[in-house]
């Protein structure tokens, strides 16, 4: 049982001119176990991407510690796969070769790479698209390739920065159900950065609200709508439950609450 934890993490970006550093995150404590689905929500500029970059190991905290099972994180690694907002696929590789790249980098034999890549492409409903070029796919298909590629590396944690931000509402709904299915199958701990309250609420076992200036956790609550969907409940029925609507209002209130002090 792996746990990715941020404890009392603060972050400041150094200013190029050497003036006072700008605090972006202040004293953030958050933990993500395998099997959790944690969403981080907050206004633009509240530090969500910075938080994910810390968890991924792209950035080092100014204070506090990011660790996995007590071992400090010193950089990115194959135990944490990232899905980027701008898909970050490699247009010089075919769809299947994009998904197989993590396995190639890990030195896996060709046959195994191919089989694993095809498995995950099938899991994201892209069977039959293996030989296509990246630019021949739609935005939603590209994001699914990005997710398949992340999962193909066999990570403990799946870190996603607004992966559905560029998609239309109908595609998003289908992607939500797909994400839950993949999260359940892959037994990963998922961290999702999102702008959408409904998305966070429906998918997550826990939603964290990040208040801006400097970013800190102002609200956190646990939910089970995603798990109930996996157990077979109807998504539209879940989303129209009074509990769901009330929770959505609580989250919205937390996001828009006046900044204290």
């Amino acid at each position: 049982m792996s746990v990715l934890s941020l404890s009392h993490v603060s972050l400041s970006y150094g200013q190029p001119s050497g003036t006072a550093a700008l605090p972006v995150l202040k004293d953030v404590t958050l933990s993500l176990s395998r099997g959790d689905f944690v969403s981080v929500i907050g206004r633009s500029g509240s530090g969500k991407t910075s938080l994910m970059n810390l968890a991924a190991g792209f950035l080092r905290p100014t204070a506090g510690q990011v660790s996995i099972d007590g071992r400090p994180v010193t950089g990115p690694g194959p135990d944490r796969a990232v899905v980027f907002q701008d898909d970050a696929l490699f247009p010089w590789r075919s769809v299947v070769d994009n998904v197989a790249l993590p396995l190639k980098l890990a030195g896996k034999p060709r046959a195994e790479r191919e089989a694993t890549a095809r498995h995950w492409l099938q899991a994201v409903d892209l069977a039959g698209q293996e030989g296509k070029h990246i630019w021949q796919l739609s935005g939603g298909q590209r994001q699914r390739v990005g997710i398949a590629r992340a999962l193909a590396s066999g990570p403990d944690f799946l870190l996603m920065d607004e992966p559905l931000g560029a998609l239309d509402a109908m595609t998003r709904d289908r992607m939500h159900e797909l994400l839950l299915k993949l999260w359940d199958e892959s037994h990963t701990g998922a961290l999702l950065i999102t702008h959408s309250v409904e998305e966070a609420l429906f998918l997550s076992t826990s939603v964290v609200v990040l208040a801006p200036g400097p970013g800190r956790i102002s609200f956190q609550e646990d939910y089970d709508y995603g798990r109930r969907f996996i157990r077979g409940e109807d998504p539209r029925a879940l989303k129209s439950e009074p509990g769901f609507i009330a929770a959505r209002e609580r989250l919205l209130a937390a996001i828009y609450e006046k900044e204290a002090a």
Binding site: F84, D86, A88, P91, W92, G131, R149, S153
Partner: protein
């Protein structure tokens, strides 16, 4: 898998509507410009605006072209001259790529490498070929190697600079993605930075070829017995202007052909350029 890839490319090459309307216009306009220039040229020499020594008629240039093609001029036929020059330019391109791309990768990825190599490239970049030609001859003699080297020096900067800017153009998240998969530094360069830089490197190759053709005549100034530059200089010494113009036209045709070849290679092997 590769089959389906090959099948899908032609569909992508089919231009969309607005391009279809424009393409013939550009081509027609280009042909019309060339035709117009030849017509003015023919008219000018027919009306005797300039003496034939200054401006021989298109017909005389065509005759010179035929003469060198079938009888030869300056110790060799046109084919031999072309072969010698093509060999020099493309050998230079090959060796420059061999050196320039790795140098560009080092400059783009290593601070120490950048510190050492960047000033060297910046030093070489503005040098005129006629200025370093004597040095190359003193150091390396008058053999074939010196001629290739002179052209290579002119090609180095475009290749290095285009490689550096290509690597810098690699999307930060693409690099980050590869790093989360545990890519080593070498893997990062091979799997992400180099492919991301290829479009830029191709542009650099096209600029380098241009520089190569420009430098060709200088490189054949000394002790050449074959080559288009040598042919032009031999003709110039005896004021055989029609042969000079014929040589210029052949160089320009070869340069155009190599440009078309590179564009074809680009479309064939880098079909993702300009997409996504």
């Amino acid at each position: 898998m590769s089959d389906s890839t090959a099948e899908t490319i032609p569909a992508q090459d089919r231009p969309s509507r607005p391009v279809k309307l424009r393409l013939p216009w550009g081509l027609l306009l280009g042909l019309a410009t060339i035709g117009g220039l030849i017509a003015i040229w023919a008219l000018a020499s027919a009306l005797g605006w300039a003496s034939p020594v200054f401006l021989p008629s298109p017909a005389r240039v065509w005759a010179a072209l035929n003469r060198v093609a079938f009888e030869g001029y300056a110790n060799a036929t046109l084919l031999a001259h072309m072969g010698a020059s093509l060999w020099r330019v493309f050998a230079a391109l090959f060796f420059t790529m061999l050196v320039g791309v790795p140098v560009g990768l080092i400059i783009a990825t290593s601070r120490i490498g950048r510190g050492i190599l960047d000033p060297l490239v910046e030093f070489i970049r503005p040098l005129p070929p006629l200025a370093y030609l004597p040095l190359i001859i003193i150091w390396c003699g008058i053999g074939e190697g010196s001629k290739v080297l002179v052209i290579s020096i002119a090609m180095l900067a475009p290749i290095v600079i285009s490689t550096v800017s290509g690597v810098k153009a690699a999307n930060e998240n693409q690099i980050r993605a590869a790093r989360t998969f545990g890519a080593t530094r070498a893997q990062l360069i091979r799997e992400v930075m180099l492919p991301a830089a290829l479009p830029s490197i191709f542009t650099g190759m096209r600029i380098a070829l241009g520089a190569g053709w420009t430098t060709l005549v200088a490189s054949e100034l000394v002790a050449a017995t074959r080559g288009l530059g040598y042919m032009i200089q031999s003709a110039a010494q005896f004021l055989v202007t029609d042969m000079v113009i014929a040589g210029i036209l052949v160089i320009s045709a070869l340069a155009t052909a190599s440009e078309i070849l590179l564009r074809w290679l680009e479309r064939r092997f880098l079909p993702w350029i300009g997409k996504s």
